[in-house]
């Protein structure tokens, strides 16, 4: 059914359709509307969810961990400093192999305090063992959230899933959306029947006890194997999802990449803006294309290398700084992925849009302009720059 919803409304509606057992609820801009809208569904008796209003994000994730460990399905939503306050628990959830579903409405981290969009929050959690899937718009946020449980709960995976969308740009923008029927969503998600859980009478177990070095490493390897298995599972779930929705998802989206010589690697709503730039350049005969990273954890390194193998110059666009002094996190992954190619494209990193600084079609065209120069001269110039930076040395 066709509708018009903001990203936050779409996620709250997906949660209503799923009717999870427990929600750990604590507000933070720009994710606040999700527990707000969901609270109305609870109050109206439209869901059976145990809505646990807590005093912090540390507690909302703790509630989710406890509930999921007890054999229930738990969800929550947060942003920015809220995710940072969950940091310790993110690792607990992942290492206890609890397939919790979290929506991260991405927002810059303090300081200075800022409510607008970048990926500094979820990038901070990239090594926590959570699957991370990013959305370009409200439709993808809705679709990704519906796919989260079938991915995370699979016995080969058993990992928590973070569905990410751009704060305000996606969360607060009303756009057209195609919603699935609730019974279709319920059938797709299915019942949650974990093999082991805290309250299983026949086989009670402890969750999260002390782990000594003779076992700790084996547990970490199992976690790492689960993350590899997640890549396969994500594609299986996407194929099933296409059957119920007609919408096709991969590990990333290749846009006009067939014969592309100049390409971008980027994620989220900027990919949509960049598609308009690619279309414009293609009209002028420029062989431009882009790869939109959808699944960041697990990172599809080999697949990305194949997608970029035919290009001459590539710009990775990072919407978080990372402070590595060597480029942003998406750049680090992409550059590493390209290492095994026999012939590698020239590669630069552009950090952009921090704290919600707007990015226009013309900004993307300028990046392609620089790639065209690099492809001709073979000179990449500075490896990593900040787009639109006003002080000396920036704005390339």
């Amino acid at each position: 059914m066709s509708h018009r919803l903001s990203g936050n409304e779409a996620i709250a509606y997906a949660m209503k359709q799923i009717d999870p057992d427990v929600m750990g609820a604590f507000p933070i801009t720009p994710s606040t509307e999700i527990p707000e809208y969901f609270a109305q569904y609870v109050a109206n008796g439209e869901v059976n969810t145990e809505y646990v209003a807590v005093e912090s994000e540390h507690s909302s994730m703790s509630v989710c961990i406890a509930a999921q460990a007890a054999g229930a399905r738990a969800v929550c939503a947060t942003s920015s400093c809220g995710l940072a306050l969950m940091y310790e628990l993110l690792y607990v959830a992942a290492s206890c192999r609890l397939p919790i579903s979290l929506v991260c409405v991405n927002r810059a981290l303090s300081g200075p305090i800022n409510i607008n969009h970048d990926y500094s929050d979820s990038m901070g959690g990239r090594d926590s063992g959570w699957i991370q899937i990013y959305a370009e718009n409200n439709q993808e946020a809705y679709d990704n959230f519906i796919m989260a449980m079938p991915i995370g709960e699979h016995p080969n995976v058993r990992l928590p899933v973070m569905t990410c969308m751009d704060g305000f740009i996606t969360s607060h923008a009303v756009e057209n959306i195609e919603l699935l029927e609730t019974d279709v969503v319920r059938r797709f998600i299915g019942e949650y029947n974990p093999e082991h859980y805290l309250l299983k009478r026949e086989n009670p177990l402890a969750v999260g006890p002390y782990d000594l070095s003779p076992y700790y490493m084996e547990h970490k390897v199992m976690q790492a194997e689960a993350m590899k298995a997640a890549k396969v599972r994500i594609l299986e779930v996407a194929a099933k999802f296409e059957k119920i929705s007609g919408r096709c998802y991969g590990l990333f989206e290749e846009y006009r990449m067939e014969d592309a010589e100049l390409a971008l690697v980027l994620m989220g709503s900027t990919a949509g803006t960049a598609k308009a730039a690619v279309d414009k350049l293609r009209e002028d005969g420029v062989k431009a294309g882009l790869v939109k990273t959808r699944v960041f954890r697990p990172f599809p390194g080999q697949e990305l290398a194949r997608a970029l193998a035919g290009t001459r110059a590539v710009a990775v666009m990072d919407k978080s700084e990372g402070f590595s002094a060597n480029g942003g996190p998406l750049f680090a992954e992409t550059r590493s992925a390209l290492y095994d190619l026999k012939e590698r494209p020239y590669l630069i990193d552009i950090v952009y849009g921090l704290g919600g600084r707007d990015v226009k079609v013309e900004d993307i065209e300028k990046v392609f302009g620089r790639l065209a120069d690099i492809a001709v001269t073979g000179e990449i110039g500075p490896l990593y720059t900040h787009m639109g930076q006003r002080s000396k040395g920036g704005d390339r």
Binding site: H3, R4, I115, N137, A173, V174, E175, N176, G272, T273
Partner: protein
């Protein structure tokens, strides 16, 4: 009327006046009528009275661009006092129009828009709202004015569809529906195009 594939509208208001709500309603109704839509706010410091901006894109194809709007076809000024502090006509297309909430005529307002030679439209949204609703909610009459001036939606169909949208929005306060419908109709009639 601008006849591009896509109509872009920029709203200027002050926090608390409902510019964002009007922007969202326009997106909802245009979407209901089969258009592809975007309605989104730009947040600065959130407080009552601070200048806010909101944006609409309405098109026949899905628009993937997610930047703010720099070259709008129409600008809606929900608070006349913003003319002194915000460059409201910045980037406004020459064949577009600016629509201002003011008791003055388009001719009188043109003097306050140096550098703008295009259409100036005015409507006394404050008076309309105060006469019908008993208080100053200028956003809904301004929505009526922009629909009338832009022709982006058929006005008769718009009125029928927005009534349905109001019925959802004001489900718990149905007494607001008729008043808001009346402010819309009054604004459609009264907006002056100059």
């Amino acid at each position: 009327m601008v006849t591009n594939d896509m109509v872009e509208i920029r709203w200027h208001g002050r926090g608390g006046q409902g510019a964002k709500m009007a922007c969202m309603l326009l997106a909802d109704v245009a979407g209901l009528e089969g258009k592809f839509v975007q309605g989104f706010p730009e947040y600065g410091p959130e407080r009552m009275g601070a200048p806010i901006t909101a944006y609409n894109r309405i098109s026949e194809k899905r628009c993937t661009i997610h930047s703010n709007i720099y070259y709008p076809d129409y600008v809606v000024v929900v608070d006349e006092s913003l003319l002194d502090s915000v460059d409201v006509t910045g980037g406004l297309k020459e064949d577009g129009a600016i629509i201002i909430n003011t008791p003055y005529s388009p001719q009188e307002m043109r003097i306050r828009l140096p550098g703008w030679a295009g259409k100036v439209c005015t409507v006394d949204a404050r008076r309309i709202s105060e006469e019908i609703l008993g208080s100053n909610f200028p956003n809904i009459p301004m929505l009526g004015a922009v629909v009338q001036v832009s022709g982006v939606l058929d006005t008769e169909r718009f009125l029928a569809d927005i009534e349905e949208s109001f019925e959802n929005k004001f489900a718990s306060r149905p007494q607001l529906i008729q008043g808001n419908m009346a402010t819309l109709k009054k604004s459609l009639e009264e907006v002056q195009i100059g």
